[in-house]
Symmetry: C2
Subunit: 214 residues, 2 copies
């Protein structure tokens, strides 16, 4: 089974070759590592390269073939997430509709992919949080704009600091995403209603807005 070598290796027994293990280009592995890292680091920002590698079904050494350092991996991950989130926020911000419809659209767009962005919050608290903090600026800014427009048109309470509302809105979306994933008792629609409720929208209006959700 194993050819004999002077240092007696153990042969490939690590990964069971599934049907998807064929025709695996370098970019495929790289993307898989990124996807898995998104998941793993989203749950525990202190997870090591070993944990990520194991979750991706590769060896630690392989991760270092694609990313020269842990910081590089984290930065790449952050940039990707920020780019996607920025696209959503910019698009929603560009629409000139009423602020409440805009918020409903935002939540409808963010909700299905919310779990992918938990990593943004998690990484901020991780070892390299300082290093990537600057990358998150655009997202914070766009979200702040959205909150500002919400306050300007009385969707949110004017007397509350916009920064606080952003923080809570941000957090609430991911709290709901977590809740939804862990016990499944809260559907996407309920989440939409909840978010709007939490943000101060009267329930009747929230329910009406929810009709525009996913």
């Amino acid at each position: 089974m194993c050819t004999l070598f002077h240092y007696t290796p153990v042969c490939n027994t690590g990964v069971v070759p599934t049907e998807s293990s064929r025709v695996r280009s370098m970019n495929e592995t790289r993307d898989r590592i990124l996807d898995v890292a998104l998941e793993v680091l989203g749950g525990n920002p202190d997870a090591g390269m070993g944990d990520i590698a194991a979750a991706a079904g590769v060896v630690r050494r392989t991760v270092y073939l694609h990313f020269p350092s842990r910081l590089d991996l984290v930065r790449t991950l952050t940039e990707r997430a920020v780019a996607e989130m920025t696209a959503v926020l910019t698009e929603v911000n560009a629409a000139d509709g009423a602020a409440d419809a805009m918020w409903a659209a935002f939540i409808a767009r963010v909700w299905p992919v919310a779990h992918r962005y938990r990593v943004l919050l998690a990484l901020r608290r991780g070892e390299y949080g300082e290093a990537i903090h600057g990358l998150l600026g655009p997202v914070d800014e766009l979200l702040a704009d959205l909150v500002q427009r919400g306050q300007d048109s009385d969707v949110f309470a004017r007397h509350l600091p916009a920064g606080l509302l952003s923080q809570i809105a941000y957090g609430a979306v991911f709290a709901i995403a977590d809740s939804d994933r862990s016990n499944g008792t809260l559907g996407a629609r309920a989440a939409t209603i909840t978010s709007l409720l939490l943000l101060g929208v009267p329930e009747t209006r929230a329910i009406a807005l929810a009709g525009t959700g996913p």
Copy 2:
């Protein structure tokens, strides 16, 4: 200045002896370490024993004289915080008033000390999060009771999972505490109003309740 020794020590230059450095009983130092650790770990659950020691104005070795291990320090800290929080929650829960007044009382009691309990959330995410998770059960349970009573009397939306409300209520209190400490734009009264608003209490009622706040 320095007596000469065969290993040439550096003499005590570390801590400038302030007026409070006299008559320093062992318990005083221990308590100071705990207080400082509450602050430091609340900000960064991954802070090391060295960071805590430095912040407390002692040497790392001294911390180990009072706490045999980092886990022991973290556990002590958690137990202390849980005990205080439990006392507040039990007292509030025992009062047989209306649920909304009860919630107002809770927030009024928790608010002034909220920053001290950020450590509960932070430690949950830290290295020993798993180890102390069980200790936080009583707090979660009491908070869940409070939310349940809130739902039973229509203070909170009945259709939302109680667990979700607990999570958000918990988080909101500390988000507000953070906000208050960092920019000072949000006073305790505003926080009371905000919390109640976020939890779904109509603004008019929230303002009335705020009168009972600190």
